[in-house]
């Protein structure tokens, strides 16, 4: 048959329409699944704990359920631990949007079990991963082009988040700001369509009630802005404590022997059970308690204690490798911190102030901005879940302060830092190359000379004397260990006689990824010892090539 250009064009147009319909359907499916997920958690939690659980039950339920989820997470669904947002970002940026079907299924099951059994974690991060996963699976099943499959990931994520929080605007912003990492992304149309479709369906089931009911709070006196600024600073510090604590505790758990991995969620379950015995208020998602803080129903001492306990409990639950997010806990910690500050300000400030509930509301935003590090999303998220427009100005001030403090002392956002611990280096907006730029991958030498880590220092020193460069890569192509310098080899061979192995000297040096633009390469090359390894983003130990000053001059002038 003869294919005229007009037929081909028609087909393209049809694929466009198909994608639009698919966007709506994906948005709806992601949204419904998010609703189902949250309802399932409530049901499981109710079945496991009842209305007023006994101490024995509080202690036993998290432990016993975590033993089951530990086995599931280690043997059946190995890649569904934690929040799901960083994993979704990694899938979007590094795997072309491919998410295996077992991820959304596994996340649903383990998420319901972990959060339902009292672990102090949120349901929104998992919802995002489930939504994005279902979108990716549907895209591949339909045989869409790789670019379209990748595009569906943020679409599914936006649909899921819109329904999980009843926040259509914040969901779109989150998909652009966090998942794609570009507020000007051309995908804004698709994410808006998915978010709207999802929210309409969600509201037809749950009604258009905001997540939290709050009285209308407003700025009572201009001087109050100073109090909100202080709250922003406190929020920033609390965010830092959370991020640093989480990363350090996770490192601790990861250092345990690999054989214990199957039991680690249960260790977390035991500790959570003990905390629940002291205060059941930190259980699960905990929005009931946030609601009370927002409505001024808690004493400041209670709020302070809950703030600290929730922080510790969430770190334990997450670091021990359970499945659940950090959205809800950050809102909880923020509401309690803000509420406590609010009571104190209300009592001692020399000017008229708003209710403590207003501070709890702004506090939620500060922790969200400081931990999740998506400043636009955090402002709109708080505005949408409370539907209180009046508080927007203090919210913006406090969020910005918290964000700046958190960024100053924890330059890598926690989601990316968690991926770093797993050896995955996401591209950040600062180091992402424009499409036209030449990158490290273009100019690198694919042939790299490596020193075997099993070589003795003496032998390596002999070899090094004939080399041009003063720094050497140690390891194999599939497992680069790091670098060693000529001085290190000389000193060590003189000192110990040189029978020890080279691997004992290796330090994890500076590196670039193939997609880094040349100015990043030049910058890093000047900080390195003269040899810059180029490593994969998906696995930082896989060597793709190397760059020296020589290659830089030779190759970039071509």
């Amino acid at each position: 048959m003869n294919a005229s250009p007009s037929t081909a064009q028609q087909l393209r147009v049809r694929e466009h329409h198909l994608f639009l319909v698919l966007t709506i359907v994906i948005g709806i499916i992601a949204g419904l699944t998010a609703v189902l997920f949250s309802v399932a958690i409530a049901q499981v939690s109710h079945r496991l704990f009842g209305l007023a659980p006994s101490p024995a039950r509080l202690l036993a339920v998290p432990l016993l359920v975590s033993i089951v989820t530990g086995i599931l997470l280690a043997k059946v669904f190995p890649d569904v631990r934690g929040s799901g947002v960083p994993q979704t970002e990694a899938a979007y940026h590094l795997a072309g949007g491919a998410i295996p079907a077992r991820v959304p299924i596994g996340k649903f099951i383990t998420g319901v079990l972990c959060i339902g059994s009292g672990h102090s974690m949120g349901r929104e991060g998992p919802s995002v991963q489930i939504g994005a996963g279902l979108a990716s699976v549907a895209g591949r099943w339909l045989g869409l082009s790789p670019q379209r499959i990748r595009d569906l990931v943020p679409v599914g994520a936006a649909g899921a988040l819109a329904a999980a929080f009843n926040t259509p605007v914040a969901a779109v912003l989150f998909a652009l700001e966090e998942i794609i990492g570009d507020m000007n992304a051309p995908l804004i149309g698709s994410t808006v369509v998915a978010s709207v479709a999802s929210v309409i369906v969600e509201r037809s089931i749950l009604g258009n009630e905001p997540l939290f009911h709050v009285p209308t709070y407003r700025l009572v006196h201009p001087a109050e802005l100073a109090a909100y600024a202080v709250l922003g600073i406190i929020g920033g510090i609390a965010s830092l404590l959370f991020c640093k604590g989480l990363l350090a505790t996770r490192t601790l758990f990861r250092r345990l022997p690999p054989a214990t991995q199957i039991l680690q969620p249960a260790i977390g379950g035991l500790i959570i059970g003990a905390i629940l015995l002291y205060s059941p208020a930190i259980m699960g998602v905990g929005y009931d308690w946030v609601d009370q803080a927002l409505n001024g129903g808690l004493l400041w001492k209670t709020m302070l204690v809950l703030c600290v306990l929730k922080l510790v409990a969430t770190i334990v639950s997450y670091a021990s490798g359970n499945a659940g997010g950090i959205f809800a806990p950050s809102l909880y910690i923020g509401a309690m911190a803000g509420g406590a500050v609010g009571v104190i300000v209300h009592r001692f400030a020399p000017f008229p102030t708003g209710d403590p509930g207003a501070y709890a509301l702004v506090g939620m935003g500060t922790l969200f901005a400081g931990i999740i590090r998506a400043p636009m999303t955090s402002v709109f998220m708080i505005f949408e879940i409370t539907q209180d427009y009046q508080i927007l100005v203090p919210l913006m001030v406090a969020n910005l302060l918290s964000f700046v403090i958190s960024r100053r002392f924890q330059p890598i956002p926690v989601y990316h830092a968690l991926l770093l611990q797993d050896g995955i280096h996401l591209p950040s907006p600062a180091t992402r190359a424009p499409n036209t730029a030449r990158t490290a991958g273009h100019i690198m030498d694919a042939e790299a000379e490596l020193v075997s880590p099993d070589l003795s220092i003496e032998a390596a020193w002999q070899w090094a004397q004939d080399q041009r460069w003063p720094t050497y890569l140690v390891g194999t192509r599939d497992h680069l260990l790091g670098t060693v310098t000529r001085e290190q080899l000389r000193d060590a061979s003189a000192l110990a006689g040189g029978s020890a192995l080279v691997s004992s000297l290796v330090s994890e040096g500076i590196h670039v990824h193939p997609d880094h633009p040349l100015d990043v390469v030049i910058d890093r090359l000047s900080q390195s010892g003269g040899v810059l390894p180029v490593v994969s983003r998906a696995d930082v130990h896989r060597l793709e090539g190397m760059i020296t000053a020589d290659t830089l001059v030779r190759r970039s002038s071509r």
């Binding site: 359907v25 709806i28 499916i29 609703v35 209305l51 045989g143 009911h213 009370q292 409505n295 001024g296």
Partner: protein, 133 residues
């Protein structure tokens, strides 16, 4: 069979491919509809569960008051009110807020909640009285 003998897909094949896509899309839509009704059923049972819980909190509150444990009673009524409101039962939520107000007539949160519930029920005079108290 050598791969070189396989003809490259022409426009007819692509049309057939897109027809298959439309069929698959229909399957997805059916799945979405089924998911909708399933989720709605589970959400409805969740709502009934919340209403039962709310009623139980309210009873607990009454028992606490009968035993002269005021703070506990207040706490229980607040929980009941919040649960009724989440389940969309404004009438009962208003009733629980009023119980709190009988114990603490100037409770800001209960006044705001009662006002909002009365407003939703269309009792605007009552709503105004709560909101301006």
């Amino acid at each position: 069979v050598s791969l070189e003998n396989v003809p490259s897909p022409n426009e007819t094949a692509r049309t057939a491919f897109l027809h298959r896509e439309i069929l698959q899309l229909a399957v997805l839509i059916v799945a979405a509809v089924l998911l909708f009704f399933g989720t709605r059923a589970v959400a409805a049972s969740n709502r009934r569960m919340r209403l039962r819980d709310a009623a139980e909190w309210s009873e607990r509150g009454e028992r606490a008051l009968a035993a002269a444990r005021l703070d506990e009673g207040l706490y229980d009524f607040r929980r009941a009110a919040a649960l009724f409101r989440q389940a969309g039962d404004c009438g009962n939520a208003l009733d629980q807020f009023q119980r709190v107000l009988r114990l603490r007539p100037q409770d800001a949160a209960a006044l705001a909640g009662a006002g909002a519930c009365a407003f939703q029920l269309g009792q605007y005079d009552l709503a105004r009285r709560y909101q301006t108290r």
